[in-house]
Symmetry: C2
Subunit: 346 residues, 2 copies
Amino acid sequence: MKEERITLAHGAGGKETTEILENLLFNRLDIVYKRVKGGVGIDLPDDGATIPLPDGSFLVVSTDSYTVKPIRFPGGDIGKLAACGSINDVLVMGGKPIAFLDMIVVEEGVPMSLLEAIVDSMLKVLREERVPLVGGDFKVMPKGGVDGVVIATVALGLARKPIIDAELKPGDRIIVTGPLGEHGATIMALQHGIDAESKGLKSDVKTLTGIMIPLMEKYGEYIHAARDPTRGGLAMTLNDWAKASGTVIVVEENNIPVRNPVKAYSEMLGIDPLYLACEGVAALGVEGSRAGDILEYLRRLGCCKASIIGEVKKSEKYSGLVLFQSAVGGLRILEPPTGVLVPRIC
Amino acid sequence: MKEERITLAHGAGGKETTEILENLLFNRLDIVYKRVKGGVGIDLPDDGATIPLPDGSFLVVSTDSYTVKPIRFPGGDIGKLAACGSINDVLVMGGKPIAFLDMIVVEEGVPMSLLEAIVDSMLKVLREERVPLVGGDFKVMPKGGVDGVVIATVALGLARKPIIDAELKPGDRIIVTGPLGEHGATIMALQHGIDAESKGLKSDVKTLTGIMIPLMEKYGEYIHAARDPTRGGLAMTLNDWAKASGTVIVVEENNIPVRNPVKAYSEMLGIDPLYLACEGVAALGVEGSRAGDILEYLRRLGCCKASIIGEVKKSEKYSGLVLFQSAVGGLRILEPPTGVLVPRIC
């Protein structure tokens, strides 16, 4: 019998990743070892974990690791990506970021100036966000031990009431705060040797602080789910939500904002932009009766491309699925991403 | 001019690591971006950070990354090492571990059975310690993108009063809870192709819960500093302490517990066991008048090799240094570790 080995698909963030994580981790632990009592742990697929604190508030903790080729790209670099990505994970859990930790692993021989530039990008974000770097780790691996630079991060935040995506309800509307697939399309183009910038492609990497903090203050009670659709794109986010909440989500192509350069490039490669990573967009599940007000407010916050793209419904038959209403009329299932979608882009 | 590049020494945990971290991170940030107000951050070299919570207690957060060759060794494997190391970092900050997160990066082609065994070792520790795994990340890198398996961890804990190593005071005694250098000697022997087990070498990797929790309950107010001397060994720990507290630490060779196989192997390689990593030992700085009672209590907790190895003194001339009183009579400075000491062992 041939021995089973790890493949790239196991780490691509799609179905194979879900399966290996279930086999390796989730199924091997009783529920009491999957979360702190009263909080969210690995029992729910969310952006981070929550831990109840003695005063009734919640600690939000999120962790992620970043490897991207190329290390610098139009719109940012791995340092900016790591800081923004981790801060965003706390924000979309309803938390206010309070502290950040980094773990940098560098390959021997990397130019010092490159490492300095990456770290500067990361620190610039932390300063702008007023989030202190409270700890970290630094390791060097021999040539071939790691490819370039890997940054793992931990972001901590405090939330009065965390946003638990599983609380999405029938009647809710799905909103995205900006156009989709910008980061994913840019990195894939670069990996195919295409001059992304000249094609109008640029990563959207940025923090969501200016959107999520005022939104939570004004409409916090009406936000039932929030996520930054990074690895696996919006398709992954919506499939997770439908599964976790036992609903069906119906989205309409006509309403989904995708910029023309991303559309053109996706068509060329035969990739649906809904599977491409965003690094500066939030997907929201909001109370249906407030969706219009919230959209209006998002536009005032500067999200001029924000859009209500779909609705959450109850359905025996389609529970846990995402349905896609195409512009030309057909309705199809939007599958969760599988295989090696967008390797090493975030 | 030749461009400066990253070398293995930059990541070895010694002087070069301190220098690159100062240049890359510490010197580029104002103090307000190095810690949460009222807590410990990267402004102090400690095992983790502390964050004041609204109720007056502290969150302790520690992060580390683990790469070790070989992945399995007498006494444990990288999974056990990662769980124990991270839990110990919280314990020696005076915290009770409450949650754990893991980030696993695997190289394409690693046998599934190996990964399963590693994860099982990690989960076994978490179950025994009753610490839930609340989140994490999983990535696969193409062949050559990472060497085997890298595990990064985050451990969170709560402390009523954290142990801040910089609070070490003249008059304090230094205690170690067990013999030194066991893990480091074992891994180095294996890397040199020596059958470690047959030479009586075995990693000491274990959690310090059974020592630190009762010790903090009974003698918490008298413990001024605590650390698990991993990378860089006891020499690194004591140099950090002397520097952070502005004291001089004098240790006596005669009182330092090192088992014979470790001593023999260290002599063969010409390495001082004080520079070798321990993974199941705590170094403590305790109130001088209570040192005897604490030693007695540690013995009752099962630390039969615990020993008072030195004293903290005030000195203008030697402030920030560690002095080593050798068994044959000489007194010399115990330098902080430099260069590639023990690459990739913890």
